[in-house]
């Protein structure tokens, strides 16, 4: 019987093996072993880990994606880098899910950050496939981001969440002990920090844009990052710690999540790069999940499953088209990809059995998000079909079909209202949506300007003090000069002045003539006699 500790060790060892062998066979093996181990009832052998319901789901999605990657990345460069980070990504997500010790949870959480950063850097700067954006100028910025810019933006944004999580978890650990299952209620400050961490990770407003520029990564990475790992860590954190949070957190999560759900859906409508459509859609669905995560955790879990399967498949389907047309803006889609996009849409809006299970209990406002979904995915379906039957379609169609036999329900009639959104598929370009409400301007212009101003100020102050310290060297010289002068004065007084004085006095005395002495002696005697007479000594 495999233990969870052993499975995690296998996952990280596979990452190392793939890094060195640049193949990716270890990734397939690790995913299979992990999934089999979990389904076979693997259990923790130390108190550090605890079973988690999403662990098998993540392993299953990962397995489908690594199989797909073998086809997608066949002609790509830097495969050791790609496979190594993929392995770290998977291992970190599982570590985050299974951890019950706060430090292990933090390690998993940060491992996700660093692996997604590495994966975004997979394509070289200058490789057309690694760019995001159309190169136009709008809002004072150029809408084109190379992988190094995207990676930097991603890591800086999510680090805000990671730092917040460290402070929150650390404070809780100090109060209640290291094991999360022993923890009691969190204070207001800790609750706010945990919400911030979840929002940054799940690309909720205002942290949304890193998720869109993260499309610099190869499509399998997007498929993994958007479906089961990374962004999902946000709402899963809320599911893990939700019962401990302050009461007001429910409302805040709802407001931010619902706002992101609608705004993300609208942004997706405006995008022309299919990966960006799906990325904005992810922000939207993560918003929906975040909104319900604290109110109705069971509902949130079902949404995580349905969205995970659908979004992974959608990315792989779009990736199929990108792979076939060698363009970030494919003008035609393979038939299998189109079928997958249609099925993915049905899964997301809740018409397929797995989707229905997730959506039947969802609040009514989510139908608006579903309508937007039909709009932006319908737009992809309108494009022409190209004939390609490479084996890439097997893993993504499997992800859309198989879950319906495991998780299912009959869709409630209200869900069909989503198809009203079909009209949106014929909508023309809306500049403000295409420019993502100009949110990237904040990240490209405003935030850097504030930060640059800050460091320049510090640099100027530091330089001024440093300079003044260095120019104070002459001051030291002045002190030295003063001391030297006083020393000279004393020296002269002692060794020159006094000696000369005595010498002059003695020379003066030595130069006097004898008659002066006799006269002085006579006067002295006369004085003594006069005193003696006056006192009457002779009487």
């Amino acid at each position: 019987m495999a233990t969870l500790e052993l499975l995690l060790a296998v996952a990280f060892a596979a990452a190392l093996a793939d890094l060195l062998a640049t193949r990716g066979y270890a990734a397939v093996a690790a995913a299979t072993v992990f999934l089999a181990g979990l389904l076979g009832g693997a259990w923790p052998s130390t108190p550090f880990l605890k079973h988690n319901e999403f662990a098998a789901f993540v392993a299953a999605v990962y397995l489908a994606i690594v199989v797909y990657s073998h086809f997608y990345m066949r002609e790509a460069e830097r495969l050791g880098w790609f496979w190594g980070w993929m392995g770290v990504f998977f291992g970190s997500m599982e570590l985050f899910l299974l951890a019950d010790h706060w430090v292990l949870l933090a390690l998993g959480w940060a491992g996700l950050d660093i692996a997604s950063w590495g994966l975004i850097l997979t394509y070289r700067d200058g490789d057309e496939m690694g760019y995001v954006g159309d190169g136009a100028r709008a809002g004072g910025i150029t809408w084109l981001w190379p992988p190094s810019s995207s990676a930097f933006r991603a890591i800086v944004t999510v680090e805000v969440g990671t730092a917040a999580l460290l402070i929150a978890l650390g404070g809780m650990a100090l109060r209640y002990g290291p094991f999360i299952s022993d923890w009691g209620p969190a204070g207001d400050l800790a609750s706010a920090l945990i919400l911030t961490a979840a929002f940054a990770k799940a690309a909720q407003l205002p942290f949304t844009d890193w998720l869109l520029t993260a499309m610099s990564a190869p499509t399998p990475v997007s498929a993994l990052l958007h479906s089961s790992t990374m962004v999902k860590a946000g709402p899963i954190l809320l599911l893990k710690l939700g019962p401990l949070l302050a009461g007001w957190a429910v409302e805040v999560a709802f407001l931010v999540g619902a706002a992101t759900a609608v705004v993300g859906g609208l942004m997706a409508l405006g995008q022309r790069e299919p990966k960006l459509v799906l990325a904005a859609s992810t922000a939207s669905y993560l918003g929906m999940i975040t909104a319900v995560a604290l109110k109705n955790p069971h509902e949130a879990a079902l949404l995580i499953y349905a969205h995970g399967f659908a979004k992974a498949a959608l990315f792989m389907a779009v990736g199929h088209a990108i792979h076939v047309t060698h363009s970030r803006f494919p003008d035609a889609y393979p038939l299998a990809a189109k079928v997958a996009i249609a099925l993915g849409m049905l899964m997301l809006v809740g018409v397929l059995p797995t989707g229905a299970l997730a959506k039947n209990e969802a609040p009514l406002w989510t139908v608006v998000v579903s309508a937007l979904t039909v709009g932006y995915l319908g737009r992809l379906l309108r494009l022409p079909t190209v004939n390609d039957w490479g084996p890439m379609w097997i893993p993504y169609l499997a992800l859309l079909v198989v879950p319906n036999f495991l998780l299912y329900a009959v869709p409630s009639p209200v869900l069909f209202f989503a198809f009203v959104g079909g009209g949106l598929a014929f909508l023309g370009d809306v500049e403000v949506l295409k420019r993502r409400l100009y949110l990237p301007v904040v990240f490209d212009r405003v935030a850097p300007a504030v930060f640059n101003g800050l460091w320049r100020l510090v640099a100027v102050v530091d330089r001024a003090v440093d300079r003044s310290l260095q120019t104070s060297a002459p001051l030291w010289q002045l002190v030295v000069d003063a001391v030297t002068f006083v020393d000279w004065l004393v020296d002269v007084a002692l060794h020159d002045g006094l000696v000369a004085l005595i010498r002059r006095a003695s020379a003066g005395v030595a130069g006097l003539r004898l008659d002066y002495y006799l006269y002085a002696v006579g006067v002295a005697f006369a004085f003594i006699i006069a005193v003696a007479l006056a006192l009457g000594i002779w009487r």
Partner: protein, 426 residues
């Protein structure tokens, strides 16, 4: 018993270090290797001196990480040095001074008598001063003097404070008011925290790179141990010190962005990390404080040494110190990713250290906000520097294999040490 081991280790490593003045690298390596003897746990009294009192040496669990890192980096850097010193045209006696410098690190931590700690500080200052004076860059004599004077001011303030306190044994050290502040100020000047850091960027950047790879990672950081050790008796205002540490972390991080010189950027980053160490050493809960201090010290030491050695590799192979001119192949890319990610505190034991530091943040809104900014900014500059290097582009770089091996040994350490995690998870 332990005093015998101490004397033996001192005799062997000291004699070998002196021999290294003539014989060079092999003797220096043997000398530093002999210092492993110091790591045997125990306590012994070397003697009792008039006025100074009992001169004790001790190694316990708490001292071990600081000692082990000193020896490990002493060996790695010695192994790294030959191609660099050949490039500098430095004579063999460099290695002898290097070994004595490493020996001074061990003494700084080993001695329980604070007067002897001061003497160890002096040994470290004199040895490092000599190496900057003879083998530094730029206006090396000016920088060496600048370093010497600041370091002397620091160690002498420490000595004055200790002397006035009248308690020379670390176990019973008690001081109050101005006297305890003198000791603190002395230690902070030696660390180079905000306000008393002006010597640090010059010294660490203009020192010969193998020296920078010990000065910045180990030497300044060792003071954090003494802040942690003496805090009970000194009665410093810990919360204020914690906030001052965070301010230093932010200040140092912001300084990094002004640099185009690889070594100066790393030196500014040291200011930031010393801030984190000061904050770690002043966490209220003494065990959490120790965990944060030790983990941040060890993680920072290996990451920073690796990156300084990487900067040195570029000096030797590309004759440049500008980070924007550093080309990389996949091996160098791997080393820089490992180094910068650990320095950022995003993974490796540096992350665990940051986590324990975060655990010590007092639950007040303004401190939490400051801590958040400090944790983020110390991560952001690392990725900023990495991006500078990454965008400089790929290229063929010819470099000696032993330099690269040393860099990798140091860069991998923060990750490999995660294997020791169960030690402090309980």
């Amino acid at each position: 018993m332990y005093s015998d081991i101490f004397l033996l280790a001192t005799a062997v490593s000291g004699a070998l270090a002196v021999a290294a003045l003539r014989l060079g690298l092999p003797a220096a390596l043997a000398s530093v290797a002999a210092m492993l003897l110091f790591l045997i746990p125990g306590r012994g009294v070397l003697g009792v001196l008039p006025y100074v009192g009992e001169v004790a040496v001790a190694v316990d669990f708490y001292k071990l990480p600081f000692l082990a890192v000193s020896v490990a980096l002493g060996l790695i850097v010695a192994f790294y040095s030959p191609p660099y010193l050949w490039h500098l045209g430095a004579p063999r006696w460099y290695y002898g001074v290097h070994a004595l410098y490493v020996l001074s690190f061990l003494y700084i931590i080993l001695f329980e008598n604070l007067i002897f700690v001061f003497l160890a500080l002096e040994l470290s200052i004199i040895t490092s001063f000599l190496l900057i004076w003879y083998f530094g860059y730029g206006n090396r004599r000016f920088v060496a003097l600048l370093y010497f004077i600041w370091a002397q001011v620091g160690s002498i303030l420490f000595l004055i404070g200790v002397a006035i306190s009248g308690t020379f044994n670390a176990d019973v050290f008690t001081a109050g008011g101005l006297v305890s502040l003198l000791v603190l100020l002395g230690l902070l000047i030696k660390m180079g925290t905000a306000g008393v850091h002006f010597w640090l960027p010059y010294a660490h950047a203009e020192a010969p790179t193998p020296l920078s790879a010990l000065l910045s990672p180990v030497h300044v950081g060792l003071m954090a141990y003494w802040i942690w050790r003496l805090r009970e008796g000194a009665g410093w205002p810990l919360e204020a010190l914690f906030i001052y540490g965070l301010v230093t972390a932010v200040y140092g991080s912001l300084l990094v962005f002004r640099e185009t010189d690889f070594k100066r950027a790393l030196a500014d980053s040291t200011v930031a990390n010393m801030g984190l160490l000061v904050a770690a050493a002043s966490i209220k809960n003494v065990e959490v404080s120790y965990a944060a201090t030790a983990l941040l010290f060890v993680g920072h030491a290996f990451a920073k040494a690796a990156l300084f050695m990487l900067a040195g590799l570029y000096i030797v192979s590309l004759h440049t110190r500008a980070i924007g001119e550093a080309r990389w192949d996949r091996h160098l890319l791997a080393a820089s990713v490992l180094g910068f990610v650990a320095l950022a505190g995003l993974f490796g034991i540096n992350l665990v250290g940051k986590a324990y530091l975060a655990a010590g943040v007092p639950q007040a809104l303004y401190v939490v906000a400051l801590a958040l900014f400090a944790l983020v900014s110390t991560a952001v500059y690392s990725f900023y520097l990495f991006n500078q290097m990454y965008r400089a582009g790929e290229g063929r770089v010819e470099y000696p294999a032993e330099m690269y091996a040393a860099i990798m040994a140091s860069a991998l350490a923060p990750y490999l040490l995660l294997a020791a995690l169960p030690l402090w998870l309980h």
